[in-house]
Amino acid sequence: MEGVISILLQAGLTLAAGVVLAGGICYLFRHGTSHPDYRVFRGEPTDLRSVAGILHGVAALRCRDLIQLGLVLLIATPVARVAFSVFAFAMERDRTYVVITLVVLAILLYSLAGGLSGGLR
């Protein structure tokens, strides 16, 4: 179980960093000479707030959406670790921990599912 979790975390991190880097290079090529302004909080446009919106943006070859996709993969990495743990505890026939892990997974999915529905307040 430890071995798989370790590989899972490493792979997720590497994949996420690769996508963010690719998006970052593309972003700097296109917007490198513009002037950023983060002084005033406006919030991101809705396409960058949900997985559906981000995928849509990536399909339209938008660099910022590609970075955001990498960040979503990064967020998904620990979630995948928890999901795998449910399976691993089930293999060990450890019912208590299957239930505990499912509770954690449910909380995570509850939080992330809101992200799927877009600019919900």
Binding site: E2, L48, I75, V82, V104, S111, G115
Partner: protein
């Protein structure tokens, strides 16, 4: 500054922060948020969003190594994650309703406390001879590798630890930090888990805790790709370099210097919060 220079500058700061974070065990996030706010004038909400993402990156990287080496206790981590994720979702929801100046002041005090914790020596507490009933029921007892071979340990006061973890999760969600310092205290001081197991299990839990609030932050539009990109990549670069230099580093001196930097940033954050500049 144009976007390229701005990105490069943030990448550099984050690399240094990730490097020092890995060497001192404080994590890089604690200095990046105040650095973005105080040096670059970034709005606290964007800064929190970008840092939160980098926290997941450092946690996943470090946890991958520690889990393999057998230090982290997956069962303890899993059980306590119920508390930290619940706290994180709540904290992230409260964050949007909290005035930014209040966030800045809370952030400052948490920073001060982390700085104090990191410069303090950590004497290993005597291990407990038996576990409490809940710990036994949850099969938390385990062992960890030491130079003298595997060392077994028992776990106490699971309920108190669980409640503290809820608080740690709330702070994590509210401020976009890993709140590793508080997690370690709950496990090491309260539950009497050996320090090395506490720190590595805390690291293991931080990613899941941060992921719980990241969903809320993404939905609220706090996570800006242009800002999070150099922060994440910088922190990863820094922690890789840091992990390579850990064996020969004079961590005692580094902890002290880093602790002082964090304390200075903390005071500046508190001051800016009170005077309404943030």
């Amino acid at each position: 500054m144009n976007t390229s220079e701005f990105t490069g500058f943030i990448y550099l700061i984050s690399t240094v922060a990730g490097f020092l974070g890995a060497l001192t065990g404080l994590g890089g996030g604690v200095v990046i948020t105040p650095a973005l706010i105080l040096l670059l004038g970034v709005d606290i909400r964007y800064a929190i969003g970008a840092t939160l993402v980098s926290v997941i990156a450092t946690s996943s990287g470090a946890a991958a190594a520690y889990v393999r080496e057998g230090f982290s206790n997956i069962r303890i981590g899993m059980f306590l994650e119920i508390a930290t994720t619940l706290g994180a979702v709540l904290g992230a929801s409260v964050a949007s309703k909290t005035p930014t100046s209040v966030l800045a002041v809370i952030f400052g005090f948490v920073l001060l406390y982390s700085a104090y914790q990191s410069t303090r020596p950590h004497p290993e507490l005597p291990s407990e001879s038996r576990s409490d009933r809940l710990a036994t029921l949850l099969k938390m007892d385990s062992s960890y590798p030491t130079p003298q071979g595997p060392e077994s340990y028992h776990v106490r006061r699971v309920r108190t630890g669980f409640s503290l973890m809820f608080g740690a999760g709330m702070l994590s969600g509210l401020l976009g930090i890993g709140s590793g310092a508080l997690k370690v205290i709950a496990m090491d001081q309260v539950m009497r888990i050996p320090f090395k197991v506490s720190t590595t299990t805390s690291n293991f839990m931080i990613g899941v805790t941060a992921a719980a609030s990241a969903g809320v932050y993404l939905r609220r539009g706090y996570i800006d790709p242009g800002l999070a990109m150099p922060v994440m990549l910088g922190v990863i670069t820094g922690s890789i370099i840091g992990a390579r230099h850990l064996p020969e580093a004079k961590t005692h001196v580094l902890r002290l210097i880093f602790g002082l930097v964090v304390a200075a940033l903390a005071i500046e954050m508190i001051y800016s919060g009170f005077t309404g500049k943030i």
